[in-house]
């Protein structure tokens, strides 16, 4: 479906590349022009994405704005894109955050502006593509395409000390996970080919497939590994603090805001509906890892001397909630989980912006170097407070809605998990507030901090939309839930329907075959 005769999703995917090509023709000395042009493209992209929200039909769970063309027909690989209530909001979040990221790089990026902006636009293409792809190979392609610009963002414009280590670690972790997913995709393809005789990588077609339980475990494990690394779930999270800490501010914002969501989105769009039996049986494993992530992430955050590392570890904790809610497998849990994905993008994204702003002024991120900033930077303090409270999940802010729904869902499915997860909320409040107190209140101990300038107009422009969203999503969540209700209902119905179907009756054929292949 198009809007005004324009294939809207294709436009959204490739428009940033058009921007990148335009940038190629601008002299690299003209940093100002480069920034303005990139901003114009980012804003235009955001505006183009808005009609999705308004034209979206929230009464159907079917994919919307679908475009379906053959890419490699002989193999059944198609260029099929479409969105439903689950991906709609993530797409909007991506286009929205990209605008803010360009804005916040305005003065932070002073060298190689051209290459930076081009990388960022390519990154946006990769992210949108991965979110709207409905063909497994197309998804895989965009999933990998995201890696390279992000790798460059960390490696070139990152913190000089450990940027190279962080960039390589980021790339290799993600790559190692995703290649196994590629094998799983291929196995899935051939299972489907054998069962239906029709070559296809279309997820919607593959959803219909009943796969023997023994096979499902292997395939789910491969998909889950790729996504768990991206989320990141404990114990695959070690790349995250490094990547976040070393990346430039905008890189951290987009990494936290969108790239991590690719992992959770991958679970809900691919791993769970494709392999429901395995997902259901492995539920305790995933939940326990999510719980460890919640509590471990919070505890480690508390001990961090570095602001950015603190926020990075808080991501591990927050994403633990997302995973836990998703695997509660009820309406509240899953909706809360999706909502929390958006929240995390906004709250943690804002936190990284805040840390970036203070870093630009002081060139340090150590908590010990600050103290008493609220006196010299009152506007900054106000924004910081709101954002911190949203991250903690204070009622009235977006964080509350998400965490509350997740906990509600988790308590329904397993009380023990619920109790443990709730302790994470307390720890979350503890590390955020303690950090806030150490940075903002008390006496000014360092003379350098006395003359800090408060936020300028550009920085306020960045923060205001974030704050508006924090409150809008906290006070009137219905606006957003409306869009996802039907899709989530459908997801759960399909999921449960497939578990009740006895898919585990046929012998685990593939397992035997794997063993056979090994002996060859």
């Amino acid at each position: 479906m198009d809007i005004l005769g324009i294939p809207i999703l294709t436009l959204l995917i490739f428009f940033p590349i058009v921007g990148a090509v335009v940038l190629l023709f601008i002299n690299k000395e003209k940093a100002g022009a480069l920034r303005v042009v990139t901003l114009i493209f980012a804003i235009a992209e955001f505006i183009f994405s808005l009609p999705l929200f308004f034209a979206f039909d929230s009464k159907t769970a079917a994919m919307q704005f679908v475009e379906d063309w053959w890419w490699i027909q002989a193999y059944g690989i198609s260029y099929k894109v479409g969105i439903d209530g689950i991906s709609l909001l993530l797409v909007l979040l991506t286009t929205f955050l990209t605008v803010l990221c360009i804005l916040c790089s305005w003065t932070a990026i002073t060298f190689r502006v051209k290459e930076y902006m081009i990388s960022f636009l390519f990154l946006e293409t990769g992210m949108i593509g991965a979110l709207v792809a409905l063909d497994l190979i197309l998804f895989y392609v965009f999933w990998e395409v995201m890696l390279i610009p992000m790798y460059l963002l960390i490696g070139v414009w990152g913190d000089p000390k450990r940027r190279i280590y962080a960039a390589i670690k980021f790339f290799l972790f993600t790559m190692a996970g995703s290649v196994l997913m590629l094998v799983a995709i291929l196995i899935l393809y051939f299972i489907n080919l054998k069962a239906t005789g029709k070559p296809t990588f279309d997820v919607l077609e593959l959803y219909k497939l009943g796969i023997p339980a023994g096979t499902q475990y292997w395939l789910f494990a491969a998909f889950a590994l790729a996504f768990a690394i991206k989320v990141p779930m404990f114990p695959f999270h070690t790349w995250l603090p490094d990547a976040h800490t070393e990346a430039p501010t905008a890189g951290s914002v987009i990494l936290a805001g969108v790239l991590l969501k690719m992992g959770t989105y991958g679970f809900i769009r691919f791993a769970m509906p494709l392999f429901p039996r395995a997902a259901f049986d492995l539920l305790p494993v995933v939940s326990v890892l999510a719980l460890i992530g919640i509590i471990y992430g919070a505890l480690v955050s508390m001990m961090q001397p570095d602001l950015k590392r603190l926020v990075a570890f808080s991501s591990v904790s927050h994403l633990g909630y997302v995973m836990l809610g998703m695997f509660a497998l009820n309406m509240q849990g899953v909706q809360g989980s999706i909502y929390q994905m958006l929240n995390h993008g906004i709250s943690t994204g804002s936190l990284f912006l805040i840390v970036g702003m203070i870093y630009e002024r002081r060139h340090t991120r150590m908590i010990a170097d600050f103290g008493g900033l609220s006196k010299v930077m009152p506007i900054f303090a106000a924004f910081f407070m709101i954002v911190s409270l949203s991250s903690i999940g204070l009622p009235g802010t977006n964080g509350f809605v998400g965490e509350f729904l997740i906990l509600l869902g988790v308590f329904q499915s397993n009380v023990v998990y619920g109790v443990l997860a709730a302790t994470g909320v307390i720890l979350g409040a503890a590390y955020m507030l303690w950090m806030f107190q150490r940075v903002m209140f008390g006496k000014i101990t360092r003379p350098e901090n006395e003359k800090l300038k408060d936020l300028n107009a550009r920085e306020i422009t960045i923060m205001v939309p974030m704050v508006i969203l924090i409150f809008l999503m906290g006070i009137y969540p219905k606006l957003f839930f409306n869009k996802m209700d039907v899709s989530v209902e459908r997801f759960l119905k399909d999921f449960k329907g497939k578990i009740e179907m006895k898919t585990d009756v046929p012998a685990p054929i593939l397992k035997a075959e794997i063993v056979k292949g090994e002996n060859r």
């Binding site: 990998e144 390279i148 290799l172 190692a176 094998v183 056979k516």
Partner: protein, 483 residues
Amino acid sequence: MKIPEIDLYLIAPEIVITAFAFLVLLIDVFSPKKEKKGYLGIISLIGIIISFLYTLPLMGSPQSGFAGMFTSDGYALFFKITFLIIAFLTILISIGYTRREGIEFGEYYALLLFATLGMMLMAAGTHLIIIFLGLETMSISIYVLAGMMREDRRSVESALKYFLLGAFATGFLLYGMALIYGATGSLYLKDIASYISAKNLLRSPMLLMSLVFLTIGFGFKVASVPFHMWTPDVYEGAPTSITAFMATGVKAAAFSALVRVFFSALPAFRPDWTSIMWVIAVATMTLGNIVAISQTNIKRLLAYSSIAHAGYILVAFVAGNDLGTSGILFYLMAYAFMNIGAFTVVILLGKKGEENTLINDYAGIGFKYPLLAAAMTIFLLSMAGIPPLGGFMAKFYVFSAAVKGKFYWLAILGVLNSAVSVYYYLRVTVLMYFRESEREITGLQFPPASVFALIVAVVGTLYLGIFPSDVLSFAQRSIAGLM
């Protein structure tokens, strides 16, 4: 004895190449000037284009001639096109390179054309002698080409090493062929296959020995473990343009013959060679990738990476199904573009007396020569198998063939290897973009022909990655008569 029919139009592409090779030699002899032989390169390019034009009308109808010794089926034609592309790109990059290095001899281009001729015969031969003659024509030309820089000790060492080991390996190959003849009484691939199945010679020790010898002989040419020892030294010492030619052309030619001989003549032994090749494939991928990690010279790094790529192609060979065979064809074509492209960048970054082949020399060129570095990044990422580049699609077909053939562990080991390889390919990009240069590399020359080759390689790599359909369905049609 009846004189076999002479089907000259079937070998028209080969005739054109031969004629132009002689033409180049003649003009060289009668040309007065000692220097400035670049126009001979242009003449060779024209020869290649004409040969290509003669190849096109042969498509669509598989025919064999010369009493069945020579075939012009889709398989042969696909490979011929690949060889012509490789030769075309190699000559393009040679024009500037030979002038810079002072090896601008007329023989250079003539030998390149003869080597191409040998490759084309290897792909088209359906008779062991034709295949062997092709192999020798190619190999002897390359031995000489590798030693072209006769003042340079490493080049001479490279040529000698390649010659001695190559001759030894060819001996194995010939012995294997002789054993086949001894056991079956024929050198025609089809007759060998039918004789084996008719007489049920599956446990014939002579044939099993010949299988081993053929594996060694071809294994040497494709640089598979454990017959890879020569590769890094030879690749490092040979003139870089010839290294590019060897890494793509010789490998492709050896694979073309390997696949045809094993699939057409010895299909009955598939269970035997599957298990041998499984081990060789895994060893080749793993050794190539792991040793590449510790390399400090870009030519050696690419040499080990080319060993690893031979391993990936062997994965498709082991899978042995239609997907695998067409995957081999696609892979070799994609590999030609990305590998010659990478070597072109290596050439362009050097100058006379200063090759700049240490990986550390690449520090900081990302922002100094942005387009060159961007091209290199595309080639390296393509070799690492990152979409949407040709190398990804090639690996995708290879691994899907393995999965289809139910070689799950082979596919898993393959993709894990591919993930390992990302590390050393990235290391080059790390240096190019993330490090400042320690010393200035200035005064580089960019001959137009080399730049054109670079553009062709980039376009080819992107085209095969983004629109692989056409070439792939061509590859699929090409293997129709093979199995």
